[in-house]
């Protein structure tokens, strides 16, 4: 037998765990995120806890026009999303499974402990979009003495979001 054929006889396949490829991909995606990060991410990123991250993400995209950063999606082997970053303008916020870092969703805890304020160019248009997507409105849009025009809405798990347009004060 020729040397190469003899060497071939010792070729043997290994038996892998089914999730081996998923874990490998996570290593790669972490490196990709690392590179994407400094360009896109602000210094402070609030993290909001949810019971159902997947449902929250699709609502936030549909109702508020947020965009999931694809490389940030962390999924379990079962395809369930555990965490993702969403961006809007130059802001970024984390949407994650409750309990993972101590915080719980208002839907589970029964209280709101913070609200998130988001600057938008056109409050009325944003309000109509949110309404059409089924957002529960906490405060109708109105003008504030400070020069702000704002409305507030709840997402499906009861986090409160404030969308605001700050009119520039006239310089005298």
């Amino acid at each position: 037998m020729k040397p190469v054929d003899l060497a071939r006889k010792l070729r043997r396949e290994a038996a892998f765990e089914p999730a081996a490829l998923d874990r490998g991909k996570e290593t790669l995606m972490a490196a990709i995120r690392q590179e994407v990060e400094p360009r896109r991410r602000p210094t402070i990123i609030p993290q909001l806890p949810y019971e159902n991250v997947g449902a929250a993400l699709s609502f936030l995209e549909r109702a508020f026009g947020f965009q999931v950063i694809p490389a940030s999606r962390l999924e379990g082997a079962d395809g369930v999303v555990h965490h993702a970053l969403v961006e809007f303008g130059d802001g970024v916020i984390g949407i994650g499974t409750q309990g993972a870092h101590g915080a719980i969703s208002p839907q589970s805890g029964g209280i709101e402990s913070q609200y998130v304020s988001v600057a938008v160019a056109d409050v009325e248009t944003h309000y109509r979009r949110a309404l059409a997507a089924g957002a529960r409105i906490a405060k109708e849009p109105r003008d504030h003495g400070s020069g702000a025009h704002a409305y507030e809405a709840f997402d499906p798990e009861g986090h409160r979001w404030r969308f605001v347009h700050q009119r520039l004060r006239e310089v005298r």
């Binding site: 060497a7 290994a14 874990r23 490998g24």
Partner: protein, 187 residues
């Protein structure tokens, strides 16, 4: 519409890093099997993500005139395996024992005895090759890469790959050849 080549995807990933995920989806399974054949499942599972992370970080250096990234990925894998030489040697010896046992099942006693002596010698002979020759031989024999791909993987001119493979073949022949009258076949 045809899907973009690896070179196009890697080119795109320079400005849009997430695109590199597609390179993983295309080639990770092949590379995992490669690493597994060489160093076993456990090591391979630990290395496959590492391999693609390194590839991602070096993607600027990928030569876009090569259509497929596969040989380049094999090359990164080969380098990673150098740190796992001991495990590789162990696996090779175990494979030799299994090959011998398999041969014993379906052959005559003499042939089985032959196989029991022969395969461990093949394993030792492969082990004894200089790193660069062993790498060229295994990419060619186990991964069935053509010369051109072995050359791309090891970043060598094709002529050098040819001469390395010839040297490896000669060395194996030499090491497998019965020395003096101490033949492989025993009575």
């Amino acid at each position: 519409m045809s899907s973009p080549s690896d070179a196009e995807v890697i080119g795109r990933s320079l400005g849009e890093p997430e695109a590199f995920g597609l390179i993983y989806d295309r080639h990770a399974a092949a590379l995992l099997r490669f690493l597994g054949r060489r160093a076993g499942a456990r090591v391979a599972e630990g290395l496959v993500g590492e391999l693609f992370r390194i590839a991602f970080e070096r993607r600027k250096a990928f030569d876009p005139s090569r259509g497929s990234a596969l040989p380049w990925l094999y090359g990164i894998g080969s380098n990673l395996l150098l740190k796992h030489r001991r495990g590789e040697a162990r696996r090779l010896r175990a494979s030799a024992r299994m090959a011998a046992a398999e041969a014993a099942e379906k052959r005559t006693t003499t042939a089985a005895l032959d196989a029991r002596l022969l395969f461990p010698r093949v394993a030792d002979a492969i082990e004894a090759l200089p790193d660069d020759e062993r790498e060229a031989l295994l990419l060619f024999a186990w991964e069935e890469l053509p010369y051109q791909s072995v050359a791309e993987a090891l970043d060598l001119p094709i002529g050098t790959v040819r001469s390395r493979l010839n040297r490896a073949r000669a060395r194996l022949r030499e090491l497998l050849e019965p020395k003096g009258k101490g033949k492989v076949r025993s009575q």
